[in-house]
Symmetry: C2
Subunit: 253 residues, 2 copies
Amino acid sequence: MAGVVRLHEIKRTCASCSLQELCLPLGVNEEDLKRLEQIIQRGRPLDKGRKLYHQGDPFVAIYAIRTGSVKSFTVGEDGNEQVTGFHFPGELIGLDAIANNHHDCTVMALETTNVCEIPYERLDELCETIHGLRHQLMRLLSKEIVNDQKLLLMLGKKTAEERLATMLLSLSARYSLRGYSATEFNLSMSRGDIANYLGLAVETVSRLFARFQQDGLLAVEGRNLKILDFSKLKFMVDGCEPPAKLTENRGPN
Amino acid sequence: MAGVVRLHEIKRTCASCSLQELCLPLGVNEEDLKRLEQIIQRGRPLDKGRKLYHQGDPFVAIYAIRTGSVKSFTVGEDGNEQVTGFHFPGELIGLDAIANNHHDCTVMALETTNVCEIPYERLDELCETIHGLRHQLMRLLSKEIVNDQKLLLMLGKKTAEERLATMLLSLSARYSLRGYSATEFNLSMSRGDIANYLGLAVETVSRLFARFQQDGLLAVEGRNLKILDFSKLKFMVDGCEPPAKLTENRGPN
DNA sequence: CGCAAATTTGAGAGCATTCAACTCCTGTGG
DNA sequence: CCACAGGAGTTGAATGCTCTCAAATTTGCG
């Protein structure tokens, strides 16, 4: 319906997409890629605050972020939110819906965001014959499990300080992978989202940013962030000890 | 090598397995099931404390618990453990290894445990032609993501009390699904494992058990557990409010 | 039976939360 | 252009939940 003006941008193909290597096409040959492209739909941009899908929505498709960023969160029966993740270009979302045939979380745009919609049934059909695609999809599912488990480790054991440091380094690494600066970037999520995600109070996050800045680790100005001391941040994350070689004296096997 | 005595037990088939409906075979027809069975290996039982695989081991197969139970845990660089889950008959483990081609956690038997070993490459081959199998595998992967995210919600926001209540109810439901009593069962994991899993100190868990018992919610005696008041436990888990209908006055979409 | 590990119990300390007030930023309407 | 409303973010003070340390007690197993 919209003008044809930036059709070239909207109809961008996987083959020409810079995110190929992070996304579903990884490991799929050129020919098969064309078949994949045929089932992918690219709608209009999602404005900030708009939802891609709601918790409870029937499962129809999975989505890849093309530009922008989103947060996903679940709402418990008691009504309060838990942010389960932030997602950036090249990342696949909606995979949790395969289990129960409906989405278990809501996904909301943190800024203007473009997504690729991949109807699951048709993707599944393609998986039958395209081995690489099948495997990459599995890998991405598996990766999400690994990620969640890392997050678990974090929420279970780490202090507020360690949690924030971990998140900042994760963001930095992800931006870096996508060709952006690893040291300076803009947070697309609010302090509230960060706090919720990390299982902390907003005030605590605010105080931590203040302290990190005071300690010369960061330069923070609203949502603009500059990392000044990577090594100290990493030091926080790893606990305390440098990678010591543990002499395993545990049981057999 | 072992005697032929209980061969009938060891060579038990999927078709005759009572866990069929919880496990990989769900949605696979009889004929295809035979093909699946052919690739599955059932080794000797794993004694308590033995490890099924180590963090870092190359990825060869996924496993289904047949009898017994296991815990899975990751060891951070700083050396401390995080228990990421407990697994019971019918549950598939090792799925996290698909992502990076090596296991990201260690799995240890909590009691004598039998597992079915399913070589991944051959499973993948079967997935090519057996649609139901492919879909079930995806579902199980997805389910694990959903589970982890629920756990995240728990560790992020809940109090110690709520965490333990949540875990007990989860165990109860799982035992019940497997045909055991929902109200009385034996914990195969130590207090330490529980504490670690829930992100609490051992002492806290111990005190909670004492308090729950004192409040008439449970009867605890070592690892034997009887749930006396389900509704109160559920009440704890849900936060506080009965399923109130929230008048959603949020944004559009 | 006896040691070692697991569990329980007690007391005190600390980190993060909660409550409260205030500032800053943004967008809207006069 | 400016005043104002409202949300987002910051800062301060006090409470409290959970942890840590310490020691007693029980359980499991050789």
